[in-house]
């Protein structure tokens, strides 16, 4: 218990340096003020200690300039802390565009990880050093929380929605992964390890173990297994939208609103198909897949849809063959140049 005793956590991500710097500055400032108050209290208690039983102190009641000073100066300092903290938070919350995506599903009481290349892990996460990694996460049951202290990052993992976090490991090693939101009896057993590996080791790791195929190809199997392909076949002209070139594109809805076809939208269509129906299509056509597909299968399906490029030689945008004119104006958003690299498309929160 003494051997591995430490007072400072391991620092292993691109965010841990900036977070620690802010922490140290806060620590110095707050310690200085606390010590000053403590010293002043002790000085007063001793120096003004009552000498005679009937002694009175000074009867001074206020001093406006002094009071104004100790109201305004802390406020200004607090605003400084607020801004610094907010800038850090934006950096922590917003993944860079070139991040690779890894999926995590939390359940009582384990972490299930899926890599786009097809690897699956439980309570372990292998990542390369020097590349930003974005985690797209959901829960099968209660709220969990994905916490890697060495990366200074933490994000609640909720049922029925996706939350994201990201990090870029800077140092190869083995780091704690904790569930940090109380989730039931074995909450303290919902722990694992993050293995940050050099790019070469990571490539090795990806090639060994021989997964059945990429996550997208697994998703393709599900696409047929669950009968999605029966309606969403690629020469469809009628009842169902063509899913090619759909991912992260704007979709015009029957309500006249436009929505981005992100992970959450695709997931919602499986659970609540009649909500937010694309323009030109009617509700009551798609069956509800609640209780039929698991969260992990949905992530595979999303990967599959994400990997569906545009049909070769066409620039037709995705979801509706009968796009109205306003829709047409949207199609410039993602030209073929962008979508040819479907695996690492631009993703915005």
């Amino acid at each position: 218990m003494i051997t591995n005793f430490r007072l400072w956590p391991e620092s292993a991500s691109s965010m841990s340096g900036p977070v620690d710097l802010f922490f140290v500055i806060m620590l110095i400032l707050c310690t200085a003020v606390s010590v000053a108050i403590a010293v002043f209290l002790i000085y007063c208690a001793i120096h003004y200690h009552r000498k005679r039983e009937n002694e009175l102190g000074s009867q001074e009641r206020y001093n406006i300039p002094v009071e104004a000073a100790w109201t305004i100066i802390p406020f200004v300092l607090f605003i400084g802390m607020f801004i610094w903290g907010a800038k850090l938070y934006f950096a922590i919350e917003r993944p860079p565009d070139n991040a690779i995506t890894v999926y995590a599903v939390g359940k009582q009481w384990m972490w299930k990880i899926q890599h786009p290349e097809g690897q699956r892990e439980i309570n372990e996460l292998h990542i390369p050093v020097g590349r930003p990694v974005k985690m797209v996460m959901t829960s099968e049951d209660v709220i969990h929380d994905f916490f890697v202290p060495a990366f200074r990052t933490k994000q609640d993992v909720l049922p029925d929605r996706y939350t994201t976090t990201w990090f870029e490991a800077t140092k190869p090693g083995k780091y704690h992964l904790f569930c940090s939101q109380y989730c039931g009896t074995k909450h303290s057993g919902m722990i694992g390890w993050v293995y940050a590996m050099s790019p070469a080791d990571y490539q090795n790791w990806l090639t060994q173990g021989a997964p059945e195929g990429s996550l997208a190809s697994t998703g393709g199997k599900y696409f047929h297994q669950f009968g999605c392909a029966n309606c969403h076949h690629f020469n469809s002209q009628g009842r169902c939208p063509d899913l090619r070139n759909l991912y992260m594109r704007p979709v015009l809805l029957t309500t006249g609103k436009t929505i981005i076809a992100d992970d959450s939208y695709i997931r919602e269509k499986l659970h609540n198909p009649d909500a937010q129906v694309p323009w030109g299509f009617s509700s009551g056509v798609m069956p509800n897949f609640t209780g039929v597909v698991s969260e992990e299968q949905i992530l595979a399906l999303i990967s599959f849809i994400k990997a569906l490029g545009p049909q070769p030689g066409t620039q037709q945008p995705s979801s509706s063959g009968t796009a109205p004119t306003e829709y047409g104006t949207q199609k410039g958003i993602g030209g073929p140049g962008v979508t040819s690299n479907a695996g690492s498309q631009v993703e915005k929160r």
């Binding site: 430490r6 606390s34 039983e53 000074s58 109201t71 607090f78 607020f82 929380d145 704690h176 303290s188």
Partner: protein, 542 residues
């Protein structure tokens, strides 16, 4: 003849009526205050017992004393009992009940029967909660996060929620009683700006409780409805939204955190001037800072949800308001400190507790600045850093203030003095034990040790052992006052009406006071509060 007169003079609220029923049916605010003292002391030691078991369990990285499931129940029951059956009613129910009418020069609170009803409702709520505990406990954490509490936990969630729900009515009725008393029953000449700051803080505190407790009640009802009738409110599997629960819970619970510490601030604002023989510095700033805390406290609930998936823009707003609410707290600390400057400072036990309070509250408040900083909160959120932070406020702050207040007003309540040497020693033990318990938890949290873990990686053991050692010392510090205060009830030397030479109205009456507090309704002639100059005559008599 002389004996008859002496007997008449000695009639006070304690000996005027005798027997258990005279207590259980009393509408005297002072007796009700003592009923509350009895109840919350029992709950405090019950909650403390759970804490002790948790600390013992955490001596080892693996489960050695209790199972993980039992550990989860321990921290849940510790939280539920300490928050709703100790901290929130602690100072208002005991010192507030006893002192508010006396400080405003009234015979009783505005609605004495309602006051007694509050205690019975409180005890009913407590009984239901203890029933949930005896039947097998609850394992949701005191925060009842959904959907775990509504759809997954197999423990007595509804019973515990009903207990807390009932106790909420007691909180509201007491708060209402205080607000009306302070508005309507002040003695002639006692205008708002002559009131002790104790009254200002309790007033602000009562307003918050009246406004936020109904939100808790609604939230608990929703939990029960979803759990029993499977109506989808919070559980997404039923069509609900789990984050909605967090919004509703923290909309109640963050102001509730201030209702735990505002009464502590109220006590400290009385002790510091009296034991410094100097008026409270910056009276109006301190008084209005209580009101500011009450108002701003309603605008910061989202800072509990920075990593719960809220939008970055609402996170920004809540972080900003969290820094705003830190300003009035800072003002209070500076004014208390300045009150001691050039005072005539005694080292009596209440003052030791008050100085301890300022130190510990400062550390608790400063670490709150870390948590309000968005980028830092991401790392320390839901770790032991948070536990250490709020225990510095709740235990280092409120419990220290409560103990200080009990010692300060003990001569008034019991008519007897407590043993000063022993009391100073136990104040020191509490201070040292507290710091040894909770300071290592800041380090644990920064290292990444998550909350609510029954078992943990080995590298955290050293700090946990230190913390447990501190907890045992702290336990001794809490048992000692219980023993010597009870002893002094019968054996202490007589205190006399005003042993501290304090200027407040409550000290103008005898100790213990007569049932109607004052022989004649006092008329306030001083132009200012904390009027020590008017006491020169009394001081010269010493």
């Amino acid at each position: 003849m002389i004996e008859a007169v002496a007997e008449k003079l000695e009639k006070n609220y304690l000996n005027e009526k005798q027997g258990l029923l005279s207590w259980l049916l009393s509408t005297d605010h002072k007796r009700i205050g003592i009923l509350y003292t009895f109840s919350i002391t029992c709950f405090f030691f019950l909650g403390g017992f759970f804490a002790l078991l948790m600390r013992l369990e955490l001596l080892s990285p693996r489960n050695w004393l209790v199972s993980a499931g039992t550990y989860n129940k321990l921290f849940t029951m510790h939280g539920i009992i300490m928050v709703w059956f100790f901290l929130i009613p602690s100072i208002p129910g005991t010192l507030g009940n006893f002192l508010i009418p006396m400080m405003v020069g009234a015979k009783d609170v505005a609605f004495p029967k309602l006051n007694l009803l509050s205690w019975y409702i409180f005890m009913l709520g407590g009984t239901v909660t203890v029933y949930a505990l005896i039947r097998g406990g609850v394992d949701t954490g005191w925060t009842f996060y959904t959907p775990f509490s509504t759809s997954y936990s197999t423990t007595y969630v509804v019973a515990a929620a009903v207990g807390v729900f009932i106790a909420g009515f007691s909180t509201i009725l007491t708060a209402l009683n205080f607000v009306v008393t302070i508005h309507r029953m002040r003695a002639p000449g006692l205008t708002w700006f002559k009131l002790p700051v104790f009254i200002w803080s309790m007033y602000a505190n009562s307003l918050v409780l009246i406004l936020n407790t109904p939100v808790l009640a609604i939230t608990l009802v929703m939990i029960a409805v979803e759990r029993i009738a499977k109506v989808g409110i919070f559980d997404p599997a039923l069509g609900g939204d789990p984050v909605l629960f967090q919004h509703m819970f923290w909309f109640y619970s963050h102001p509730a955190v201030y209702t735990m510490v505002l009464p502590g601030m109220a006590v400290i604002s009385e002790i510091i001037p009296v034991f410094s023989r100097k008026p409270l510095f910056g009276y109006k700033a301190v008084a209005f800072s209580s009101v500011a805390i009450a108002v701003l406290g309603f605008l910061v609930w989202g800072h509990h949800m920075f990593v719960a998936g809220e939008s970055v823009y609402s996170a920004l707003t809540f972080s900003f308001f969290s820094y705003c609410v830190a300003v009035p707290s800072a003002i209070k600390v500076f004014n208390w400190t300045a009150t001691m400057h050039k005072g005539s400072i005694s080292w009596d036990t209440p003052m030791l507790y008050a100085i301890g309070f300022i130190g510990l509250f400062t550390i608790g408040g400063m670490t709150g600045l870390f948590l309000a900083a968005l980028g830092l909160d991401v790392h320390v959120h839901d770790t032991y850093f948070v536990i250490a932070h709020f225990h510095y406020i709740m235990v280092g702050g409120t419990v220290m203030a409560f103990l200080g207040g009990v010692h300060y007003w003990w001569p008034k309540i019991s008519g007897k003095m407590y043993p000063e040497g022993l009391a100073r020693l136990s104040a020191l033990i509490v201070f040292l034990g507290f710091n040894l318990t909770f300071f290592p938890q800041f380090v644990l949290g920064f290292l990444g040790m998550p909350r609510r873990y029954a078992a943990y990686p080995e590298e955290f053991q050293m700090l946990h052992v230190l913390s447990t050692a501190g907890a045992t010392i702290l336990g001794v510090g809490y048992v000692l006052p219980l023993c010597y205060l009870l002893w002094s009830w019968n054996h202490g030397r007589d205190a006399g009406p005003n042993p501290w030479r304090a200027p407040g109205l409550e000290w103008k009456s005898t100790s213990p006071p007569p049932t109607h507090n004052f022989e004649v309704t006092p008329v306030v002639t001083s132009k200012l509060p904390y009027d020590f100059e008017a006491m020169k005559e009394e001081l010269e008599l010493v």
